[in-house]
């Protein structure tokens, strides 16, 4: 067994020493991990508009597509047979993004949500989940991208200050299919997301992008796992984060596993963090495990730095004041990824939120 595989497929309670939990403050999970949470079925996820033809969103009873070793996901599955399932029919191409939102405020209960997104062969769609309001939610999201299909999945965590969000986003990507995801985490008390990809057929590809910005007291963890099980699959991971304020804490784990069968794999992962004040902590752990040498490429990079004095000097030497220069640099840092959302309203909203967080954290007055 390698470090990237686990056989703990029955319900268990993490103690905090396990590799998968060593950074997470378990006490702040509202009991989702140990069974003490009183779970409810809120079905908080709602479509924003009427769904186009070829797209359905149903509540069904269904088993999980594949087992998991994640303790919270196991408890969610034990709790509920009910799944909210979004299906995009075979050969359907949906030009406009399909928007879903959670916007309610309920901090009394803990929602356990099971969601499945099924993109049937040769279908193409963009699905956006917009999470705002204040919830305590454990989310088991399973995504199937069928042969030759194309899914862009965007999950926005613009939560209020008290939210707790633990989610596993597992995508199974079939032959010649493309899965792109963009994760934006700018709100919540604790957010722990597990974007995972299993390549199930050759010729498949995945691009996982993310941005996060944590301010005082916030804990945001993004724990990525890309499993190259088959030959000729390509993966790209690029997450960028900023932190400001006392006890702002982010964790980025990038696990990539190239199995013996996965010849012709092409993978690269990158994580960059910008520490904008003292008292904040960014953990960044890329981890590549390779069982075959017959690959196109495999690499990773991780950097954590502060404001670049030369950039600030250059901008200020053109008359731009210190606060505006810092704002420009931070916006610029995130633009590469935020601009990939391709929705001006959302992009502007995220950037405005980042400006707000920056101002609130006092990180622009250096």
């Amino acid at each position: 067994m390698t470090s990237l595989q686990s056989n703990v497929l029955e319900i268990h309670t993490p103690q905090g020493r396990e590799e998968a939990w060593r950074f997470t403050p378990l006490k702040r999970l509202a009991g989702m991990h140990d069974g003490s949470a009183v779970a409810s079925l809120l079905n908080s996820l709602k479509p924003v508009q009427a769904l186009p033809s070829g797209v359905s969103f149903d509540t069904v009873e269904a088993d999980a597509f594949s087992p998991t070793d994640d303790a919270i996901t196991q408890r969610i599955r034990a709790f509920s047979k009910t799944v909210q399932r979004l299906t995009i029919s075979k050969d359907t191409e949906i030009a406009q993004p399909i928007h879903f939102s959670r916007s309610m405020r309920d901090l009394d209960s803990v929602e356990f949500a099971r969601i499945q997104i099924v993109v049937e062969p040769h279908a193409k769609a963009t699905v956006i989940f917009e999470n705002s309001g204040d919830l305590r939610i454990g989310e088991d999201l399973e995504i199937q991208v069928g042969a030759g299909a194309h899914l862009t999945f965007i999950s926005l965590q613009e939560w209020g200050a008290s939210s707790i969000h633990a989610a596993r986003h597992n995508a199974v990507v079939e032959r010649d299919a493309t899965f792109n995801s963009i994760i934006v985490t700018v709100g919540g008390s604790l957010v722990r997301l597990l974007p995972t990809v299993e390549f199930a057929g050759p010729g498949s590809s995945a691009e996982l992008l993310g941005v996060y910005f944590a301010t005082a007291g916030q804990f945001f963890e993004h724990r990525i796992f890309v499993d190259h099980l088959v030959p000729q699959a390509k993966s790209r991971v690029n997450y960028k984060g900023a932190l400001a304020g006392q006890d702002a804490h982010t964790v980025w784990i990038g696990d990539v596993f190239i199995r013996a069968a996965a010849e012709g794999t092409d993978t690269y992962e990158l994580n960059r963090n910008l520490l904008l004040s003292d008292g904040a902590r960014a953990d960044s752990v890329p981890n590549l495990e390779i069982e075959t040498g017959e690959i196109v490429g495999a690499g990773h990079a991780s950097t954590t730095g502060r404001f670049d004095d030369e950039q600030l000097f250059y901008l200020m030497s053109r008359g731009i004041n210190s606060a505006d220069a810092r704002r420009l640099v931070v916006r610029g840092f995130f633009t590469e990824i935020v601009s990939q959302i391709k929705d001006q309203v959302i992009e502007d909203r995220i950037m405005a939120r980042i400006d707000d967080e920056l101002a609130k954290a006092g990180a622009i007055n250096g």
């Binding site: 670049d308 004095d309 030369e310 950039q311 000097f313 250059y314 901008l315 200020m316 030497s317 053109r318 008359g319 731009i320 004041n321 210190s322 505006d324 220069a325 420009l328 640099v329 916006r331 610029g332 840092f333 995130f334 633009t335 590469e336």
Partner: protein
């Protein structure tokens, strides 16, 4: 009419071996419309002079004064110096990822003019400046200095000189890394700025070739952290013929 006055300027930097004095008392006066060339060997402190006037945090002023029309430049923050009318075209302009040239220029113009320029006029201004410097229109949407060639970086600096209209401009080795065509285009930009806004220019260079395009009124030879000889354009001809050896070993 503006005057930048540098008197007895002493500057040091902190290194692993302690503080090292780079500028050892520089006196220089630059007025609107004048072009001063500062020439000197590598390591003589020319760039330190440029960055110290602009306010780079790496340099510590240990003595002397710098005033612009009587106002104490050394008391100003970096952006205040730009607002007062100083401009530094850098030898190595800095990449700012994710910030487009058009956003950067507009933000700078807004800061310097005190209000956002009217969009339609501004677009015309930028377009004109880019055309004059033979820059592709796609340039405006690229990120500041990111992936720019040496020539593109210098054109971008001079474009800012033309758009931001400073009172006094310091051009730090603007000629370095330019081929003959780019050197001509960039020099024409400087000459346009001189003509249009009567900017005073402090041209820092190692070589005399840029002086064939931008005619200096005064030439100052810089060595070991201070000005060691001054004269008119003929001094540049002497340097061309004899090099810096006489000053370095002095």
């Amino acid at each position: 009419m503006s005057t930048l006055e540098i008197r007895g300027l002493k500057v040091s930097v902190t290194t692993e071996n302690g503080d090292v004095e780079i500028l050892k008392g520089v006196d220089l006066t630059i007025k609107s419309g004048e072009t001063h060339a500062i020439m000197g060997p590598n390591g003589s402190g020319k760039s330190t002079l440029a960055y110290s006037i602009a306010g780079h945090p790496k340099y510590t002023i240990t003595g002397g004064t710098v005033t612009l029309d009587g106002a104490d430049v050394l008391e100003m923050s970096v952006d205040e110096r730009a607002k007062a009318g100083l401009f530094l075209a850098m030898q190595y302009p800095v990449e700012v990822p994710g910030v487009s040239v058009s956003n950067f220029l507009r933000t700078a113009a807004t800061a310097l003019r005190g209000e956002a320029p009217k969009l339609r006029e501004w677009v015309g201004e930028v377009k004109g400046a880019m055309e004059a410097l033979k820059m592709d229109p796609s340039f405006a949407s690229r990120n500041v200095n990111e992936g720019f060639s040496g020539g593109e970086k210098k054109r971008h600096e001079i474009m800012q000189l033309e758009l931001l209209k400073p009172k006094i401009a310091i051009l730090d080795e603007t000629d370095s890394g330019l081929d003959v065509d780019a050197l001509r285009v960039v020099s024409e930009g400087v000459n346009r700025a001189k003509e249009n806004s009567n900017v005073g220019v402090l041209l820092i260079t190692h070589y005399t070739r840029i002086l064939k395009y931008i005619k200096p009124d005064f030439v100052h030879v810089f060595a070991n952290g201070k000005i060691v000889e001054e004269g008119g354009p003929e001094l540049a001809d002497k340097l061309e013929a004899q090099g810096y050896e006489e000053y370095v070993n002095a």
